[in-house]
Symmetry: C2
Subunit: 327 residues, 2 copies
């Protein structure tokens, strides 16, 4: 079943208004959920919407909250998120980081006590659309095993890096776990083993059996010891800058709410488009093995899905769509 972007957005907007989101906030949040589906990130688009509605009803997310500036040092600002909707807070934060970067060349906005931003890539595209280099990261509940340990003590702490490019921005949106648990579930349902290690089994052995990793909840960071260090640093940076909740504290609360995030924007002294295209050309012209069709740059597939879904509509899960229509 295919739904047009505008129809999807309109329906989500209706539900949010019913949950006492004001018009502006409902519109922005509905737009972000719909864009995530449009770009093919269904797990953080329509499919995530019923969960978001539940979190609002459980008062983990406060639709009426507005972020507040706590501290300002010219190009560095710290904000209190007041547990408002994560996508709203994140959009405002990146927007403020862009403003600061336009004044100072670089801008950094740190926000604490905010909520899940859904797809982090959104805020990368936001910066790049404004012509700025964008960089943002968030902490999460513990779902990744530190190197040398056996149980989850690190978040998968997604990192987003965006560089503007005239014919389609380059946007990396990457959790530091090798696979998300959603992706593991997909492999399990198809009865497939993972092409590379994805976590540990209950005995603490590295495993490429998605079922065993889901059972143990012990995800693997990218690059083993390296991603383990990277995940820790992301959490440290966020906590050191914001004074907000760390992965440790979020995990103890048992709810992935009240997370910490950071948004950095940098002005490009010149838009070096030809140099950027040359890097991509060099990377993409790597000789291909027989089982590979193409080397992709980050954001390339997103853009092609966006074009496809804009033309023919967004493929939706009918059950979830019906559920939203009934909300």
């Amino acid at each position: 079943m295919y739904i047009h972007f505008n129809e999807l957005k309109k329906e989500l907007n209706r539900v949010l208004i019913g949950l006492s989101f004001d018009e502006h906030k409902a519109n922005l949040c509905a737009k972000i959920f719909a864009e995530n589906s449009l770009d093919g990130v269904h797990s953080h688009g329509l499919n995530r919407f019923p969960g978001f509605v539940s979190a609002v009803k459980e008062k983990l997310i406060n639709p009426g909250a507005e972020p507040e500036l706590i501290e300002s040092h010219h190009a560095l600002e710290t904000w209190e998120g007041n547990l408002g909707p994560g996508m709203y807070n994140a959009s405002l934060s990146m927007s403020r980081a862009i403003e600061i970067a336009s004044l100072y060349g670089i801008g950094c906005v740190v926000i604490k006590n905010t909520n899940h931003w859904m797809r982090g890539g959104n805020y990368g595209w936001q910066a790049a659309n404004a012509g700025y280099i964008g960089f943002c990261f968030t902490n999460t509940i513990a779902n990744v095993t530190p190197w040398g340990g056996t149980d989850p003590r690190l978040g998968n702490n997604p990192v987003v890096i965006a560089v503007p490019k005239k014919d389609g921005h380059v946007v990396l949106d990457m959790a530091v776990s090798q696979y998300s648990f959603g992706k593991l579930q997909e492999f399990k349902v198809r009865g497939e083993i993972l092409p590379v290690f994805g976590g540990y089994d209950l005995k603490g052995q590295l495993s490429n059996d998605p079922g065993k990793i889901i059972e143990s909840q012990r995800g693997l960071p990218i690059g083993f010891w390296k991603g383990s260090g990277l995940s820790l640093m992301v959490d440290l940076l966020l906590t050191a800058l914001s004074g907000g909740r760390s992965t440790a504290e979020i995990t103890r609360s048992k709810n992935e709410s009240g997370v910490s995030q950071c948004f950095i924007c940098i002005k490009q002294p010149q838009l070096h488009d030809s140099l950027i295209n040359e890097i991509i050309r060099f990377t993409k012209t790597s000789s291909l093995p027989t089982d590979s069709t193409k080397v992709y740059y980050p954001g390339e597939k997103t853009l092609s899905r966006r074009k496809e879904h804009t033309a023919k509509g967004i493929p939706v899960n009918e059950k979830v769509w019906q559920q939203v229509l009934n909300l």
Copy 2:
């Protein structure tokens, strides 16, 4: 054989003065090489020094060059490295980023046409010693295979993140390749296979045979597709910001010279030491499997090696030490 830090530094300083480094520059570069050995990073300390001397003699590194400010947007500065010694340029750049951060809360210095900074971690420790969060990255010659390709088209582009902590800073110094070629050589010499995939063989198959990867020169990025994207972004960020040489251009020149680097410093509104310690405690108390003794935080082993080598001297390769004495 063990050499005291001061003796090592003095000897390196003597050689650099002989290569027409001025006193200040010789002292700084000798200090960084000696500190790298002191911290146990022998590959970028004494063992690398003869190669550095050769590069100076081949005029890839210009001892007399000074970096110049090209463009300034308040908290964002672009510098021309004039192919000066990489450690000197990197130290000045981080020092300038600290100064800017003290004024604006955050500071970003980008430098092009500079040289290998040896151990990136140095500049992280430099920022953290000044009480600032430090963040820096460099591009390199192509030595990593993009996901979906078979030959090296990406650099291992090291990334450094440092967060100050009262009883020893947390400093991640991480190339985006799973193993360095130096590390692969060590495994090969010991006749060991790698515990995890480290690259591709000549047929383009993932391999944990260090000999086959050295033969193909096809290193693997951390996290397969993820590190592939991350490496590309680091190169794009550097090139987009500096207008300098990308991995593509460095690779074409066949010499890893004239690279691009970025140094970002952030002021911590407050030094949240107790929160930082809590994150580390939470991570380190992950249950341990039987074959693990400890979960380490990034920088922990460096600090213990530094203490050990300060007390009992730095273990040096006698052949290299003799070579340096004869320079």
